[in-house]
Symmetry: C2
Subunit: 414 residues, 2 copies
């Protein structure tokens, strides 16, 4: 394993992530498929509608029997019965006859149009007058007019919405082949970290925040949360835990221990894993520089900063797009990069030399969406609550003025 | 039960929904609480940090020992040891001494500041020079400076995000009191409807679409999906099914059968339910006029149009805000009314006399978000796939011109 790599830009990391293939696929029922991503194109197996269907309440007719009809010279048709909703009509329609039909009803064979009830008058129980002609096909959905068999409904990579599943239901497509959802292990480490369940804090210790925040972000990214644990900052224990996590997880996230320092075991852990290939060792953003990304066989490892505010930003910037790709979505798709535009409400200074990821709070005022930079010591977890997302000040930009419109990368869904 | 009510405007219905109280509350663990809504305010039970904490790598000192230090006349301090991460420091700091401390480390008693390592030089193993003075509190988080005990963190009605749960973890708050998620029954009826699982369609029948689409919408609205069923359009069966559904559901949705006609059993079903109180019988929107809303004891019933495209609009317009309220959210909150602004890409005519809810497809072009009205017969389910949401043309507006910016109400999350 190459031990040291040049620090990469965020764009380089995202480009690398964009090339990650989707996981293997699985077949699931449509009632479970909302939000899942198609592993192949889907084609209509049969026509919709399945029968010639009325789109209006009225009378099914042979169109030619109404040609030339006017209010002063109506066409007279014999009533040959009534189509009931959801029932087959066995009869053929003889010339000069009509049958009452509701919206959605099945036209008799040889009927080719529906006269809207508004353009008819009952002369007696058995006869109607038609005062306006219809052309063949009027007020009728032809077999397959809505969906023709063989029509491609959705392409590979399409994320299924409730309405898409409704279309599949109409076609009797009960299951779909979708990309598997990645299973993610969320591990925290650090000598000062104790599990958040700890009641009385020993002096010098703090409760684990990252595993809770990152677990929530994993679920919001439509991935499956697997093992969540706090590990001692000990090489043997970390290596064993990561090795075990790779047995049944597709992505292992380890927060803490990835800054360069005496306690930095992350690279040493990766060295112990036989298939590990370091992809990213440091990203030129602030915060988030110590981010590590590695491929471990067909799986992935990501080392996140221990600082909760930094870990949350790195998750949003890189892990969310990675999880999107693993699920078959584009890395640049809406779920992968939930963003909104907002106007800066004050000046945002920045320092040269590295892309600044500055947390902002959003609010609406005077019909505009405003973004306020969240200042304050980054070590303060209270600032976590204040931020809705971040804006990026690129490396060679010295800051933005109040009033500038910027893209806000949201921590949660838009 | 009052049988007939005046058709209401959408605004009147939404105002009624805004007054619906949240369901009862329950206590759940923070790992399950993402997206849930607080049933009461949450107060910090203890201080964060719990101990005086370094925010920089350096040396813990008594600030006064550094006063007047300059590069040419540094302060000399004796090294009295090292603070290790996560460990208690029992020692007191004697005047004229310093201890090495990492970011996040616990300051010894009587130390009151941290000198950044950049402003020090090691003279020998036991002595450092400090070349810049620090004031008391510099590079230190005081006990409770981040979060003071008793501080209100979140108000009632706050929807918990991953970062909020991280703050609760830091405080050792393991469970929260949140509003219960409504359990929703999704029933479809109609003589022409067969379950979507039906393989070979009998002539005149169509597969149920609504229960699949609406189920997906229920899940997207963070509610709990309960019974999903297709029922025959038969008064006895519908009444029995609704009565049973109210035993363990908070909201019963029944699509189909709510337009005025011979087969309209919805009102008759409501009459059979002892506690039913009709709130809405018809809304002045198109589509969606036959919408019914009733209170049944402390629970709710909503009759949706049978047409899938109409049912989806009515769900988005009224059921989603209702579910938000039942979960304790504002009816006007972001989850309840996911909207975006978009520019019409063509003229949108409308007819006077009723608010038009026109489905639109969204796309991005030239950095702008464009909305295209989805035309085509509303009976065509293929139009379901095309629409991302709808725009509203109010009753007294005759339409909009191409280029106008409108609010798009999204079927899914923004």
């Amino acid at each position: 394993m190459a031990q040291f790599l040049k620090v990469k830009t965020a764009e380089e990391v995202l480009e690398m992530i964009a090339g990650v293939p989707g996981l293997d696929c699985e077949s699931i029922g449509i009632m479970e498929a909302c939000g899942r991503v198609l592993a192949g194109p889907l084609v209509a197996p049969e026509p919709v509608p399945h029968f010639q269907r009325a789109t209006m309440d009225g009378f099914a007719v042979r169109a030619r029997d109404t040609f030339g009809a006017t209010e002063s010279l109506p066409a007279l048709l014999q009533l040959a019965g009534e189509v009931r909703m959801g029932r087959r009509v066995a009869m053929e329609l003889a010339p000069g006859t009509a049958v009452a039909i509701p919206t959605g009803g099945m036209l008799p064979a040889t009927a080719d149009a529906v006269v809207m009830v508004e353009y008819t008058q009952a002369l007696d129980d058995r006869t109607i007058e038609v005062i306006k002609p219809v052309a063949p096909g009027d007020n009728v959905l032809q077999v397959g007019e809505d969906l023709a068999p063989g029509r491609t409904l959705f392409a590979r990579g399409w994320q299924l919405r409730p309405q898409d599943l409704g279309v599949l239901a109409a076609l009797g497509v009960g299951s779909v082949s979708v990309y598997r959802q990645p299973r993610v292990a969320v591990l925290s480490t650090g000598d000062e970290i104790v599990p958040w369940e700890t009641g009385l804090l020993p002096p010098g210790k703090i409760r684990d925040i990252n595993s809770v925040v990152i677990s929530g972000q994993v679920v919001q990214a439509s991935a499956r949360l697997g093992r969540v644990a706090v590990l001692a900052d000990d090489l043997t224990e970390l290596t064993a835990a990561c090795r075990q996590a790779f047995e049944d997880h597709d992505l292992v996230l380890l927060s803490g221990g990835s800054s360069v320092g005496i306690r930095d075991y992350t690279l040493q852990v990766l060295e112990q894993l036989p298939d590990a290939q370091l992809l990213v060792h440091g990203v030129a953003i602030r915060p988030g520089k110590p981010t590590i990304l590695a491929r471990v066989g067909t799986k992935f490892f990501c080392g996140l900063p221990g600082q909760p505010t930094s870990a949350m930003i790195v998750f949003t910037a890189f892990v969310r797009p990675l999880l999107a790709r693993m699920q078959g979505l584009d890395a640049g798709s809406a779920p992968a990069r939930a963003t909104v535009r907002a106007v800066l409400d004050r000046r945002l200074p920045s320092v040269h030399g590295r892309a600044d990821y500055v947390r902002v709070a959003l609010r609406n005022a005077d019909g505009r969406r405003l973004a306020s930079p969240v200042f304050g010591k980054s070590a303060m977890i209270s600032t976590l609550m204040e931020a809705d997302g971040y804006v990026i000040v690129p490396e060679h930009v010295e800051g933005y003025e109040a009033g500038e419109a910027l893209t806000v990368y949201l921590f949660g869904a838009a």
